[in-house]
Amino acid sequence: MTQMTFARAINSGLRRSLDNDPKVVLMGEDIGALGGVFRVTDGLQKDFGKHRVVDTPLAESGIVGTAVGLAYRGYRPVVEIQFDGFVYPAFDQIVSQVAKMHYRSRGTVKMPITIRIPFGGGIGSPEHHSESPEAYFAHTAGLRVVTPASPQDAHTMIQQAISCDDPVVFFEPKRRYHDKGEVDESLDPNSAPPMGRASVVTDGSDVTLVAYGPLVKTARDAATAAADEGVSVEVIDLRSLAPVDFATVEASVRKTGRLVITHEAGQSNGLGAEVAASITERCFYHLEAAPVRVTGFDVPYPYSKVEMHHLPNLDRILDGVDRALGRPNSLSGLEG
């Protein structure tokens, strides 16, 4: 076990993948000498060379489109999109090519492409640098979408994503890049929990709180705060956003009867809607109250002076918990 930052844990996972499989190549803007704007690929070009850690021209569709071609040739490209807000120029290649090639080719052409995207807000950046576009990809058949919330998961899940024969959109909660945690670098990704599985990170009995990525930490803190008030919150880290491991969420809700979902992305048509709808379908008669969503608003990601109003924080999550429990809350008195 080693103490390391979230960013370092991904770096270490990438290094292992590069070491273990000569077909793994990294591509992106500024990932070489600079080591990426977040230093996640620090030192990798130096050690693996310019043909395996490739500084590409400044063109996102080009990066993903050439990755498709490399996959056609048997490579396992790992693509870095510099920031969430810059993935959209590559949207066509991701949605029409990466996601569909295996289907289109009747299973003959595999697309083991990992698309790394630092995502989410709370770092005081200008526009386009703090977005949460996960719902677009989770709605796209053919893709898998995952996001780790701890350094250990970051380390194993990046390796699992790279070795997965399906394309994986790998969201990295950028405001947690500097958070530290214990990482067992020798852990075999094959024996670690698979990236598709949700994880109960705090046990509880009164209400189920579902989070992912950057808000898992906030959700755990909320559970701790709630415990002080005598409310027992079970926190689930989804880890996989497509598909969501509904079996794990369902088991929890069958126990608690109440569900709160939180994410930074705008509420409407976000992941929270899918979780609420699916869980309602699966265990309607176990629900004591309507699932509650505590999310960002339906606005373009705001400038930094007001971003903390957009982002769910501990208090807003607790307010949502209160709503799910029928305790006094900010919307008390409004018909629900």
Partner: protein, 391 residues
């Protein structure tokens, strides 16, 4: 607002895209066989055709004829309701045959949707060529058995795939190459331009093969560019050639030049093959709505097959026996094509769920399970899919 009639001197000229032809005097067009069938010599390109014997010339002719026959038969099959759609390549046979026959087996092809002549020459199973157009699959063949990707409908997207594939060839240290086909319209898409950026930056072994057939559905090439398309390649620092795309030898020679450069580590090449789409865009299109019959006549005089016929004639090779042989071959291919089309087994209902992922997916597995149960409530799954319902 300026209306069309009012005109606007120079400033409005840009929108009058239909008048006039593309300018640009940069590149002259390489032609080795005139429309009348004369073989004109060319010091730069002739050396690349030294091995083309009479026999090979005859075999090129056969391919041209067979491909035209395939195109005709497929069009007929569409009219008869056996295909949902077909994109004719009538008029572009020389561009396709000349380029694909310059390739080695280990070179890899990235086509658009119109390269069905290329697919034939590459040895793709005839039924597989039609599979997509019959609506029985999204991709017709296994790319790895013929080293040719499945058709691409999203305009220009395949140019990036080809570039990435060529990066892979480079990484592997192989001396093969990739070739990518796209149209004049495609040159406007960001992807095609990004592909040229990447290909030039990494100097990958790739041939950009642009069939300028003068139309992108109803839009004349002048909407895309007022200068020759070949200039585009040059702008990215890519060596570029402009050839008569209706001249099978000129196309073959230029492609060989490009492939040789690729194999020697000289990076990408851009080829503009000047040709003409003599048919509709697809069987769903009606070109009389937007183009002049005269234009078609002009191009009929430059037909890619007629000129090889004339050349063979001049050489005394166009014997009755030869002609019969070619016709017999074309007939046989057409028959096989038709049989392959009509005999193609329909996909199963649950094929809808197949191959989306290569490993199990809980969301989709559940949906498949539920749909199976739903189908089971019907005796006959066909009944289950009538829009108006069985109940």
């Amino acid at each position: 607002m300026v209306t069309d009639d009012a005109g606007q001197g120079g400033t409005a000229a840009g929108r009058d895209n239909k008048t006039g032809h593309q300018g640009g005097a940069g590149h002259s067009m390489v032609q080795l066989i005139t429309p009348a069938g004369e073989r004109v010599s060319h010091p730069e390109y002739d050396p690349w055709l030294k091995d083309v014997s009479d026999e090979q010339l005859c075999s090129l002719y056969e391919d041209l004829v067979v491909i035209r026959r395939i195109d005709k038969e497929a069009t007929a099959l569409q009219r008869q309701g056996e295909l949902g759609l077909w994109p004719p390549l009538l008029g572009q046979e020389a561009s396709q045959v000349g380029s694909v026959r310059a390739l080695r087996d280990d070179d890899f092809i990235f086509p658009s949707y119109r390269e069905n002549g290329v697919a034939y020459c590459r040895g793709v199973d005839l039924a597989d060529i039609l599979r997509v157009w019959r609506g029985a699959a999204s991709g017709g063949w296994d790319p790895y058995t013929v080293n040719m990707a499945i058709p691409q409908i999203v305009i220009g997207a395949q140019t990036l795939h080809a570039t990435g594939y060529a990066m892979g060839i480079q990484n592997d240290g192989a001396d093969s190459a990739a070739i990518v086909y796209f149209g004049d319209g495609a040159t406007s898409e960001g992807d095609v331009n990004e592909a040229m950026v990447f290909a030039a930056s990494f100097q990958v072994p790739l041939v950009f093969f642009c069939q300028n057939n003068h139309w992108a559905i109803s839009e004349p090439v002048r909407v895309q560019s007022h200068t020759q398309l070949v200039d585009r390649g040059t702008g990215f620092g890519i060596p570029s050639m402009r050839v008569d795309g209706n001249d099978v030898l000129a196309v073959m020679a230029a492609t060989r030049v490009a492939l040789d450069r690729a194999r020697r580590g000289g990076g990408p090449t851009f080829i503009e093959a000047v040709t003409y789409r003599m048919g509709p865009h697809t069987t769903a299109d009606d070109p009389t709505r937007y183009r002049d019959a005269n234009e078609l006549e002009d191009w009929a005089a430059k037909d890619p097959i007629g000129r090889v016929h004339a050349l063979l004639d001049r050489k005394g090779l166009f014997t009755e026996e030869f002609e019969t042989g070619v016709r017999t071959k074309a007939d046989a291919v057409a028959r096989e094509l038709r049989a392959g089309c009509i005999g193609m087994p329909d996909p199963e209902p649950l094929d809808v769920f197949k191959h989306v992922y290569s490993t199990p997916n809980s969301w989709l597995d559940r949906q498949q399970d539920h749909y199976s149960r739903y189908l089971a409530t019907f005796g006959d799954p066909e009944v289950a899919t009538q829009e108006e319902g069985a109940r």
